[in-house]
Amino acid sequence: MAFFLEALFGGLMAGMLYSLVALGFVLIFKASGVFNFAQGAMVLFAALAMARFSEWVPGWLGLESKFLGNLLAFVLAAGVMFMLAWLIERLVLRHLVNQEGVTLLMATLGITYFLDGLGQTIFGSAIYKIDVGMPKEPVFLFESVFPGGVLISLEDVYAACIAALLVVVLSLFFQKTSTGRALRAVADDHQAAQSIGIPLNRIWVIVWFVAGITALVAGIIWGSKLGVQFSLTTVALRALPVIILGGLTSVPGAIIGGLIIGVGEKLSEVYLGPYVGGGIEIWFAYMLALVFLLFRPQGLFGEKIIDRV
């Protein structure tokens, strides 16, 4: 039982990171109808920027405080993500308005390659560490219930709190601010939003920036756990089945889908893996998404109306 709970927690933590990446996908898809394949590349790019700035900034300014250095690095990385959002809107999206979804998808594939190359050209391609001072020591829970208790890392708990905080901030932003209202209006109906004077181009910059920030947060959590490296992009590809599962247009769907995939992956690896030679983590999520595509293409929480063939 304790072992099961440990696996469950591990799965939830992995799932939470998938959720964060998936959140970026969903935000962009809702606001601009673009299936943003580059979200994974954005996570890597943001994490690389954060890791390198937190290395460079103290040197540039002669700062002693690590907190201040990290804070400045975060602000700089966020600035970089804003520039990126602006450039993507300016150079790519603006020219592909009203194109088919598949064309836009392929354009984001191009952006993915470009970002992978650019990030590693500017920031280097070694494995970097992000140290934002999250505690690393493990803690034991439920020691009174099970012998030995359940081992979880305190870092994971902090990460979960940060992710939850991000989701709360995002939903406040979407529900309570006028920009958030404009974003929701665009998500509901492009033409109606445009006709009452919401500038679509600016909305796209904002939404790509918000997706960039979620990418940055996901990158920081991931990077402080495993180090910033190129393989982040492949792991981020797993957010695709998450949004199929949760529904392309649903923010709660992205979060719950991510948790389901994370847990399902971990548990199936632990309990089914030994029978088929292990490593089923690699495809479990995709196969689950395939089944969903066949029987419930709109996902768990997506809109019912889907472009059926």
Partner: protein, 358 residues
């Protein structure tokens, strides 16, 4: 002036329906094929064969297959690498496990298995399209990656997980020198290229294009979407599977699942986008471009760097390569969605009028 069909009268239905209806096209294609078979083996050196020509031929064949699915039928696929892997591994298994199996039959059998897998993973296309389908094909990619690295039956229980084929022969012709490999791959490409060219202008090719352009309208005029889509998946993955078998047998010799990773799928998709979606010619242009560009950059960038006194490492070259690919994809999608093939047809149009603009 150079490319005119004036005076080429068709006096029979047979003539009217030949693959290349214009005499210039016919002659150019024939001359190209003859040059590729006879001229190139004398002109190219071993490095050319190994690094450029053989990869180009095989990837052009794979791109041709992907183009049928993506360009002609409009079903996006990110799993082409998986279908190549199925072709390669099943060709290997039929070749090794069945005594005295001719290598051509083994390659075709690999294609048949790839067809089956392709149809299976194409089934979601009957319910969903576009973005959703992309995820379904990703499932094929990751599942095949896993299956070929974990299930030891596929690798004939080899301990290292890689498989090797060497010294295969056809009717006594041992294919081991680069020239032999080149000719072998070339014959496959020519046969499949002509078949594909013929297929896309036949009834089934027109059905694919109708489905691509508007599936509802196609269904209304009596095209069966199920049949059209699955046949596109079948034909495409057959060709891609044969290309995969060739890639393993002819180009690599020994290979691991990593040779057919998701990067391969993206590479094939890029060939189709850059070359031109919905064009047989485009597949060749795209494959040539993507095979030659990295080699060109590897030679060219360090030289340029030396001029400016900057040392350019191999890692940097590969990053710049990523950036150039990415930027080119976006640029082509924006500026020329029909790719290099469109530039070619514009050139033909100019040749037809030149030097009289009207």
């Amino acid at each position: 002036m150079f490319y005119r069909e004036n005076g080429q009268f068709k006096t029979s239905y047979r003539k009217d329906q030949q693959i290349f209806a214009i005499a210039q096209d016919r002659w150019v294609v024939l001359a190209l094929i003859a040059f590729a078979f006879v001229g190139v083996p004398y002109l190219a050196d071993e490095y050319m064969f190994r690094a450029i020509l053989v990869p180009f031929l095989i990837l052009a064949l794979a791109a041709l297959g992907v183009n049928i699915l993506v360009g002609y039928c409009g079903q996006i696929s990110l799993g082409s690498g998986a279908f190549m892997a199925v072709g390669a591994y099943m060709a290997y298994n039929t070749y090794v496990r069945i005594e005295g199996m001719p290598v051509i039959l083994a390659l075709l059998a690999g294609g048949v298995f790839a067809t089956l897998v392709g149809i299976f993973f194409g089934i979601p296309s009957l319910r969903v399209k576009g973005l959703y389908l992309a995820v379904a094909t990703l499932a094929a990619q990751f599942f095949c990656d896993w299956a070929f690295s974990r299930i030891s039956w596929f690798t004939n229980n080899s301990s290292s997980g890689s498989v090797a084929v060497s010294d295969f022969q056809i009717l006594g012709w041992v294919i081991d020198s680069p020239v032999d490999k080149y000719l072998f791959a070339l014959s496959f490409l020519v046969v499949f290229g002509l078949l594909a060219k013929n297929l896309v202008r036949s009834a089934i090719g027109r059905e694919w294009m109708a489905i691509r352009d508007m599936d509802v309208a196609a269904a209304v005029i009596g095209i069966r979407p199920v049949y059209a889509k699955l046949s596109a998946f079948a034909v495409s993955s057959f060709i891609v599977g044969v290309a995969g078998g060739l890639w393993g047998f002819v180009h690599l010799g020994s290979w691991e699942p990593a040779a057919f990773s998701i990067d391969r799928s993206f590479q094939l998709l890029f060939m189709v986008i850059i070359g031109g979606m919905g064009s047989i010619m485009g597949s060749f242009f795209g494959a040539a471009f993507i095979v030659v560009l990295p080699i060109f950059l590897n030679q060219f960038l360090p030289t340029v760097g030396a001029v400016f006194g900057v040392e350019i490492s191999t890692a940097l070259v590969s990053h710049v390569e990523y950036m150039i690919f990415g930027a080119l994809i976006v640029w082509f999608l924006i500026a020329e969605p029909h790719g290099l093939a469109k530039l070619w047809s514009i050139a033909k149009q100019k040749l037809r009028l030149w030097p009289f603009p009207h």
